[in-house]
């Protein structure tokens, strides 16, 4: 409990460095980590998203999606809204709804969760590019479990 997981710490710091984060807060149960890096001008709020360009629209994140650790690195997650069994495609013979690199919009179906014999199509609810699939086909998932990492536009 009181042993420091240096492996995790190093990964976190690497994540910060790679993504030019200057602050990271992580809290989970007993564990609380706060990391800050960069020059003395810590107070100056830097844009969390990509640096300002000509682009105007910033993707609006549905409020149901609270920032998790990966979201701080610029990623969003699609979470399971229910307990059930995850299916990546509509049948064993069809290709998965989405795979890494696919673009999704709010209305895109990303997977099916079966609960009580009902097959529920899960929508992305955000838009961006699927970065990673976090669960495998026919896996049991719980409420709130992250299913996909999505890089916002």
């Amino acid at each position: 409990m009181s042993e420091i997981d240096f492996n995790a710490m190093e990964r976190l710091v690497g994540l910060m460095k790679e993504n030019d984060l200057n602050e990271l807060d992580y809290k989970c149960g007993d564990l609380e980590i706060t990391l800050k890096r960069g020059g003395s001008t810590v107070m100056a709020p830097l844009p969390m998203m990509a640096p300002p360009t000509a682009q105007v629209a910033v993707p609006t994140v549905p409020t149901t999606h609270q920032p998790a650790i990966d979201e701080l690195a610029g990623m969003l997650t699609i979470k399971s809204p229910m307990v059930g069994t995850y299916y990546s495609s509509s049948s064993p013979d069809t290709p998965p709804f989405v795979k890494p690199g696919d673009r999704v919009s709010a209305e895109s179906t990303v997977c099916i969760i079966e609960a009580m014999k009902v097959f529920n199509e899960i929508k992305a609810e955000i838009q961006g590019t699927i970065e990673r699939v976090l669960v495998s086909n026919t896996q049991a998932v719980e409420y709130g479990q992250p299913l996909f990492l999505v890089r916002p536009d």
């Binding site: 307990v83 609960a115 009580m116 014999k117 049991a140 719980e142 479990q145």
Partner: protein, 450 residues
Amino acid sequence: MFARILIANRGEIALRILRACRELGVQTVCVFSEEDRHARYLTLADHSVCIGPASPSQSYLRGDRIIAAAEVYNVDAIHPGYGFLAENPQFAEQCRDSKIQFIGPDAESMRLLGNKAEAKKLAKKAGVPTVPGSEDVIEDDEEAVTLARKIGYPVIIKAVAGGGGRGMRVAHNEANLRSALYQARMEAEAAFKDAAIYLEKMIERPRHVEVQIMADSKGNTLHLYERDCSVQRRFQKLIEESPSPALDERTRTELCKAAVRLCKTANYVNAGTVEFLVDQAHNYYFIEANTRIQVEHPVTEMITGHDLVQWQLRIAAGEELTLKQRDIIVNGAAIECRINAEDHAEGFRPCPGPVDVLYPPGGMGIRWDSYIVPGSRISPAYDSMIGKLIVHRPTREQAIRTLQWCLNELEIKPIKTTIPFHRAILSLPEFIDGQVDTGFVERSFINPPK
């Protein structure tokens, strides 16, 4: 026996069921809300699965989500604990439709015994005394007078649409009654826009005594004697004990037999409780039945030595009760104090918050059933009961002494708990003498006589 069951509850009863499963070699899946994610008891389950946010209506009361979790983890049965879905016949039916055994009675006998009006009719059929009164609305004053003369004074007039004491009037004699009927109708009309009233015998200073029942699916129905839960506040039990300090042998026997009769009439299977009011003259009246395991079941476990939650699982798995009535032997006296995160000095206001310090008591005859550990945070989203302290000693006098000592040993900080309240109750001569009725706490602590 089941290979794996799902525990559809939280806190101390979830842990209690976990413990019962382990001795039986049954695997466990425990559902939890996001609020309970870090609860220590979840680490003791074989699997735990989040079913929703803190609000019970989005998690522990969501039968669909619980059954989905049960299907995903391929469990054989669901134990509902108490509260939440434990007495919900629809949920029991949902389980059956999903081919999952519900650990409790079937939906039909749950409906029969769970509905007060239905249960009262059933009690009459089974020859179990109920509180005497009018079956229907009293239209006519003379009808009321005749009835009151028959059932005996004092009587209580209640508004059909009533609640919270409004439209309620007590009458101690005929003159009283005539004026009270008028006043009650006026009050009921004003409060509920419905002047309909009915009449019931008033049970004065009643004790709350309940009988533990265990019945299998082969037609064997046993009682495990009574529990006395007269120390209560607004129908919330605070202290429970067995044997009852006020029952004579004849009443005890009759009460237990009546409870068995009622459950047999309802074809009731699994653990259940039949609740009675007992007046000062040892008359008893059925009031309601609880079709589940009760919070206070450890009191019965201690004096009989039988594990009720294990029996619930066995019965649900189709086993026959290997016990006969003569095997149920009462040994000594047991008392339970419910430790709630409440401030009794401020009207039992709930006091959720952190538990930094927890020193539970221990030793001979002490049982501490609680899910909290140092570092727990009591959530405002759920019931304020955080632990049950149970003492089992050869005599009631010893049990009271040891309980007093245990309440000194037990420390829970910094949240406020009902520990000081229990200390106060246990030192009152009325409690020590076994003279407490269901109004005692309110008279002594809430509205003490000036």
